[in-house]
């Protein structure tokens, strides 16, 4: 089985080169070999490059070891788009949700990044990973509260925690009162919530995406979280108050970038044990502007325009002899349709049980039923 790999090479922002080539799936055994192959294909032997690929959701993800290389290959169907970038470019590649779209939107969001000085301490190569969580709004929240943003990156992986009803103490004008509250009751092993280290059992949930949960039932809060799960921002009052973010005043440093350092260090020891799942938080634009921005992008629905639908039916479709159902010609024509020129990403996703041994006719019917996604 051959995979066609389309490889736009990015030497710089303005100097781009696109290559498309076929690759035998079994021919490549590992990342290193693939890396060398790319260097050969692009005639850039010896140049340090970063590899990235676009996953189903349109996220730019890195390829830097065997694991994520195989992951990338498995997600190629049939096209895999790989982005190659020189490692010493000033602007680091940001792997994040909808990173491709955001880049496309303009460089406004990236401009400050070019001005910033090199960070003094690098825990890892941030550009090799994608962000899964962040602490935000540190400057406006009370010390005892923590606002956590979870990035799901469109995966079907659960957010990985459970909530329950409970009783919370609140200071009111009448004195201390017991009020019903919602608490995290359990973290799923290896789940997103646990891997961030930012949420813990018995943390009280105060807000979901800016909406106060007071007076809402457990089911309501559950539904709110699920509805916001693509970009969930929960404000919690951690049960363990020792790991709170120290106000910035104590660690003054210049530039908007500094909050990342403090935030990162504040929880890095928490998340260290779970790095096996290649998830380490790193700083990206953790300001509220970007948050609102991505909120708008976050639920962009997929619209499939069937190009096969004639603008205004030029022909009368001949019906079958027995007058039975007429399936749309979508599938057949889509197979032949050349990929659109202007688009950023295009792929067809056959159903999972599609095996190469199937006859061409069954393959076609399968493709017909599968999700055809065009962004």
């Amino acid at each position: 089985c051959f995979y066609v790999i389309r490889t736009p090479e990015r030497n710089s922002l303005f100097e781009a080169e696109y290559r498309r080539f076929a690759l035998k799936m079994s021919g490549i055994c590992g990342f290193q070999e693939f890396y060398r192959l790319l260097q050969t294909v692009h005639h850039i032997p010896g140049v340090e490059v970063l590899l990235g690929y676009a996953d189903i959701q349109g996220d730019l993800l890195p390829i830097n070891n065997d694991d994520n290389f195989y992951k990338a290959l498995s997600s190629a169907n049939p096209l895999l788009r790989i982005i190659i970038q020189k490692r010493d470019v000033d602007e680091p590649v940001v792997f994040a949700t909808n990173s491709l779209q955001r880049r496309k939107k303009g460089l406004a969001g990236l401009r400050p990044a070019q001005q910033k000085s090199k960070p003094g301490l690098m825990i890892g190569l941030p550009q090799d990973f994608r962000q899964i969580s962040s602490i935000i709004d540190v400057d406006i929240l009370p010390e005892t509260h923590r606002r956590v943003r979870l990035h799901k990156h469109g995966t079907h992986k659960p957010l990985g925690f459970y909530i329950r009803d409970g009783v919370s103490m609140r200071v009111t004008p009448q004195g201390v009162e017991k009020v019903p509250g919602v608490f995290i009751s359990r973290l799923v092993r290896g789940g997103l919530a646990e891997s961030t280290g930012l949420l813990g059992v018995n943390d009280e949930i105060l807000e979901v995406n800016g909406i106060d949960v007071a007076g809402k039932s457990l089911d309501q809060v559950t539904d709110m979280m699920v509805a916001n799960s693509h970009n969930l921002i929960v404000t919690v009052k951690p049960a363990n108050q020792r790991n709170n973010v120290v106000p910035r005043a104590s660690r003054v440093s210049a530039g908007g970038n500094s909050s990342s350092g403090s935030v990162g260090s504040a929880f890095s020891h928490d998340s260290a044990p779970s790095t096996a799942s290649q998830s380490v938080s790193h700083h990206s634009n953790s300001n509220s502007v970007a948050e609102g921005d991505s909120d708008e992008d976050g639920d962009g629905d997929l619209i499939i325009e069937t190009d096969s639908l004639p603008p205004y039916l030029p022909h009368r479709c001949v019906s079958n002899g027995n007058g039975s159902h007429r399936e749309s010609p979508l599938s057949s024509s889509l197979g032949q349709r050349p990929l659109p020129q202007s688009m950023s990403l295009s792929m067809t996703t056959p159903t999972h049980n599609c095996s190469p041994t199937k006859t061409s006719s069954s393959q076609e019917s399968m493709r017909e039923d599968g999700n055809i996604i065009t962004l």
Partner: protein, 1001 residues
């Protein structure tokens, strides 16, 4: 998000005023039969009937249209109701009250016991309370204060009975109290052991003693007062003569056990009514032979040689006769027998020979088979209405059922409601495959027509199969059967075949085409006909899986269509039967009569059928490859088995506790109950909810939730044409461009026969990112108004849609409302309901609400019922929230699921299996009872006054208000009236929570 918040808060006073003129939430009337009725009363002077329920509601009915409802605050069961004769005063006897009455009596006298019977004297100033301990206490009315030292205790009675009768045993509870019909101061007291005492209240002396030996159940006076009848636990009754002179009577005049000689069940209640022209009529419940018919629910009517045993399908609660109460008149001359059953009200005409039943004009048993779906139509054209009514009348013309509403025996009050402005039709689909058409134009919901779809299929109990069925053979019926049973009533919860159940209904009121879809994937297209017809129904199957491999259907088989022609009565007659394969339950159906198309969806996909040419146009599978559950058949049972087992055990345990006859609420039992409740709470583990986003491989993701036809722009911005939209459980929307010959583009000859086939081409697919189930799809025209129904535009019944400006489509999912532009699908506006409020959309409808201030001003709004039972209204297409109302309790899942909206801003939902609550969102369109009862009050200075409800909601609050007023300790009876609304001042209601009443007594 922030932008949005600010926008919402902008409170324009002008807009607020308009909103007030448009929207108002009222729960208006309750249609149907009260759930769990447990008490019945009738006022012969006012001709009003009252029904009390276990949930504490009291409903009063008079002539059709005269209805009052009161709900007790504490939802305690009503045990007995008594009318204070002629005064529209109602004595509601709640279990709660009688607990507190007893406790108070306990304080005075030391014999603690429960109330068994109440007697209200005709003078209306004294209430006699019979207790389980055998004592009788007297309470002054209307203050319900105990007459001190006047209680009649067992000891007093025991002293005067002969020694040989005493034999050391107690007389038992008081079973019956009856006032002497001619001599007001005398009451007849029946004790359980059989002793009956005629007691003179003024002299406080036992005038006469009847030493019965058989355990007593009930007593009734003969009209003249010269004799009375007692009924007994052995199934017999005795007639006793009341002769002045001797103090003791040992033997009754006559005694009989009608269904003997084998052991019989008790006769619970007996009535003895005299007739001028002949023998008295005896009416009694129970008394059936224990072994053979002990489980039947029967009321017997006997007059001389005539004998009918009315055989009911549910328990007899109580019954009364409507008869002359004029003291000048020497005979009862009963007109009708009214029997309240657990599930319906049956009225028997006693004047007509053969004692036929009279269909009630209200209290329709909606649930004669369980309701599975409903559908509302407003502005029904007279043509359809008359034909339906004619077909319905035809059905009613059965032997044994007299169809004349004019002679309805309960005729109190006057209906003041104006005739309805338009005819409204509510269609209910039932489990047994019937569709019932109800007239809901006015307060009284009346049956119009009933359609059965079972005869399209070949079922096990097909009457045509075995002509030797004895029930079909008139000769066999003639054969002497004992007892002479007659099936009465229409409550029949048993379904022949669960697959016959109706799931979805769609009716075109202009072309009289009806589509009914059911549990086994059957979609039946019906047409209205006024004649009997014998024809075979065309059958087509549509395979929705389209040879997809790897799936096997493990559910029920499809229904087998009847092979031979069947006779179809006038009314809706089936034309085509389409069966979806696999035969999963139909989850949505939509009819477009103008294009002759019907679209249907199941959990596997959807299909489009041209019923004019009898061809399938389209079949599309919506299954996700990972969805294995959908193939298992109707919802896997394995998952919930454990839970349901646990629940059923709990239910059994609970019923064991509550099922006891007359549980005695002692303090210890109360403590036990509280402990049990606590234990129940502890038993439940702390509730946890997993935060797990929806994924594509959720079970049943392929369920087609909604279908929609629209003439709109799908291909490009200049040419519009027929389209079909389908939304699924996993947030996918499919839009098909249809090519319907002769429609739209002027291509093909309009109405031309055989000009080609309908074709469907997939135009768009929308996958909502949040993957929530799509609840509704609606296309809006250039002005943002929903497109008119089929035929409305072409028949000039509605303003033509704006086709010049770009259209848009409103897609409502469980979590969000979103408007997309057409033909290029781009998001225009949205409202994230779940993300903001944490609730999920259950039902969505477009309603047009008229203003109360300006006659011609109306607005189209999107009304949205959530899983929390609240209603949100949004304007369209901007989707700005307008108002929010709490409507249904969030625990009432079946109520939320059954909700149906009308186009003019009203709605219905089930408050019990048998009752619809009607509500209104519109400030203008309100259907509510508007009626008066004229009455005279002997206690006051004979003022003629009105009992009146004018605004909805008042019906409830007024009743409670009066109650509250009466409960004020020491509050003067006369002084309290001005605080009530004028119209209610004559209603005395003794509803009482325990605290209130105890403070009074």
């Amino acid at each position: 998000m922030m932008k949005f918040r600010f926008r919402r808060q902008g409170n324009d006073p002008q807009r607020e005023k308009i909103k007030q003129e448009l929207f108002a939430f009222n729960k208006t009337v309750e249609h149907g039969f009260p759930h769990q009725p447990c008490a019945l009363a009738f006022d012969p002077q006012l001709q009003l009937m009252a029904i009390g329920t276990k949930s504490g509601a009291i409903k009063i009915y008079g002539s059709p249209g005269v209805e009052f409802t009161g709900l007790h605050r504490d939802a305690a069961a009503v045990a007995q109701i008594h009318f204070l004769q002629g005064q529209v005063s109602l004595l509601g006897h709640f279990l709660d009250i009688h607990v507190c009455v007893c406790y108070n009596v306990c304080d005075v006298v030391s014999s603690a016991s429960r109330v068994t019977v109440l007697l209200l004297l005709s003078s209306c100033d004294l209430l006699c309370v019979g207790t389980e301990g055998g004592g009788i206490h007297f309470l002054d009315l209307p203050r319900l204060s105990l007459r001190d030292n006047q209680s009649l205790l067992l000891d007093q009675v025991m002293q005067s009975i002969p020694e040989d009768y005493r034999c050391g045993k107690s007389l038992g509870p008081v079973e019956s109290l009856q006032e002497h019909p001619k001599q007001p101061g005398k009451i007849l007291i029946g004790y359980s052991r059989g002793l009956v005492v005629l007691w003179d209240l003024s002299t406080r002396n036992a005038e006469h003693m009847f030493l019965g030996k058989q355990q007593l159940e009930s007593l009734v006076w003969e009209r003249s007062g010269s004799s009375f009848v007692s009924s007994h636990s052995d199934g017999g009754y005795s007639v006793w003569a009341v002769a002045s002179g001797n103090t003791y009577t040992h033997q009754p005049v006559s005694s009989s056990i009608p269904y003997g000689p084998f052991p019989c069940k008790a006769i619970n209640k007996i009535l003895w009514r005299t007739i001028q022209s002949g023998c008295p009529v005896v009416l009694y419940s129970g008394g059936m032979p224990r072994a053979s018919y002990g489980d039947r629910h029967c009321v017997t009517i006997q007059q001389d040689k005539q004998h009918v045993t009315l055989d009911f399908t549910s328990r007899v609660i109580d019954f009364f006769t409507v008869h002359t109460t004029d003291p000048e008149h020497d005979y009862d001359d009963p007109k009708a027998l009214v029997v309240l059953l657990e599930e319906e009200l049956v009225v028997i005409d006693l004047l007509t020979t053969g004692w036929p039943s009279v269909p009630p004009p209200y209290l329709a048993p909606l649930h004669s088979s369980a309701i599975t779906t409903s559908c509302h139509l407003d502005n029904v054209p007279a043509k359809l209405w008359d034909r339906l009514a004619a077909a319905g009348n035809n059905q009613g013309a059965q032997p044994g059922v007299r169809h004349a509403h004019g002679s309805w025996p309960i005729c109190g009050g006057k209906n003041l409601a104006p005739p309805p402005r338009q005819q409204e039709l509510l269609l209910t689909g039932h489990e047994d495959g019937t569709v019932r058409f109800w007239n809901v134009s006015a307060v009284a919901m009346t049956p119009l027509y009933k359609l059965s779809t079972a005869n399209v299929f070949h079922t096990d109990c097909d009457p045509n199969d075995d002509p030797l069925d004895p029930t079909n053979d008139p000769e066999a019926l003639q054969e002497e059967e004992w007892p002479p049973f007659r099936k009465v009533g229409c409550f029949d919860p048993y379904s022949d075949d669960p697959r016959l159940g109706i799931q979805k209904i769609s009716l075109c009121k202009y072309s009289c085409r009806l589509v009914v879809a059911g549990t086994a994937g059957q979609v039946i297209v019906l047409g209205l006909s006024d004649e009997w017809s014998d024809h075979t129904v065309d059958v087509s199957t549509v395979d929705l899986l389209q040879d997809r491999e790897g799936f096997t259907w493990k559910g029920h088989d499809r229904l087998e269509p009847r092979a031979s022609p069947a006779p179809f009565p006038p009314g809706f007659q089936p034309l085509v039967l389409v069966q979806a394969l696999p035969p999963a339950s139909v989850t949505s159906v939509m009819l477009h009569a103008e294009w002759n198309l019907v679209a249907f969806g199941t959990s596997h996909g959807f299909g489009l059928f041209d019923y004019h040419r009898r061809t399938a146009v389209l079949a599309r599978c919506t299954l996700h490859p990972n969805d294995s559950l959908a193939m298992e058949g109707p919802l896997s049972r394995v998952k919930s088995l454990k839970k349901s087992l646990r629940q059923s055990f709990r239910r059994i345990r609970k019923s064991r506790v509550s099922g006891k006859k007359r549980p005695i609420p002692t303090p210890t039992s109360k403590i036990q109950e509280a402990n049990a409740a606590l234990a129940d709470q502890e038993e439940v583990a702390p509730v946890q909810r997993r935060i797990e986003p929806r994924s594509a491989d959720d079970s049943l993701s392929g369920v087609v939730r909604c279908l929609c036809f629209a003439d709109t722009y799908l291909r490009d911005g200049t040419h519009h044409g027929p389209t079909l939209w389908a939304g699924t459980n996993s947030g996918s929307v499919y839009a098909y461009a249809l090519e319907v010959p002769g429609v739209g583009t002027g291509r093909g000859r309009p109405g031309g026969e055989g000009s080609g086939c309908v074709e469907a081409v997939l135009g768009k697919e929308i996958q909502l990112m949040h993957r929530a189930p799509v609840v509704s799809v609606c296309v809006l025209d250039g002005r943002g108004k929903p497109l008119p129904e089929p035929y409305q535009a072409s028949l000039d019944l509605a303003t033509a849609p704006d086709m010049t400006n770009p259209h848009s489509v409103l897609i409502a999912s469980e979590e969000q409302l979103k408007v997309f532009s057409l033909p290029k699908v781009g998001a225009k506006t949205k409202f994230k309901l779940t993300a903001h409020e944490g609730c999920r959309v259950r039902r969505v409808a477009m309603v047009t609400v008229c203003s109360t201030a300006q006659e011609d001003y109306s607005e189209t709004s999107l009304v949205c019922l959530t899983n929390l039972g609240d209603l949100h209204l949004f304007n369209v297409p901007a989707l700005r929230p307008q108002v929010r109302y709490d409507c249904i309790r969030k625990e009432d899942i079946s109520g939320i699921a059954s909700c149906v909206f009308t186009r003019n801003g009203q709605g219905f939902y089930l408050i019990s299996p048998s009752e619809y609550q009607r509500f209104s969102l519109s400030a203008k369109v309100i259907t509510e009872p508007l009626c008066t009862v004229e009455l005279e009050r002997p206690l006051e200075t004979h003022i003629r006054s009105l009992l009146h409800t004018n605004t909805s909601g008042n019906t409830h609050s007024s009743l409670l208000e009066t109650h509250t007023l009466l409960a004020v300790p020491g509050g003067d009876y006369n002084r309290t009236w001005p605080r009530c609304s004028n119209h209610w001042c004559n209603m005395i209601t003794f509803f009482g929570s325990s605290q209130d009443s105890s403070s009074r007594i």
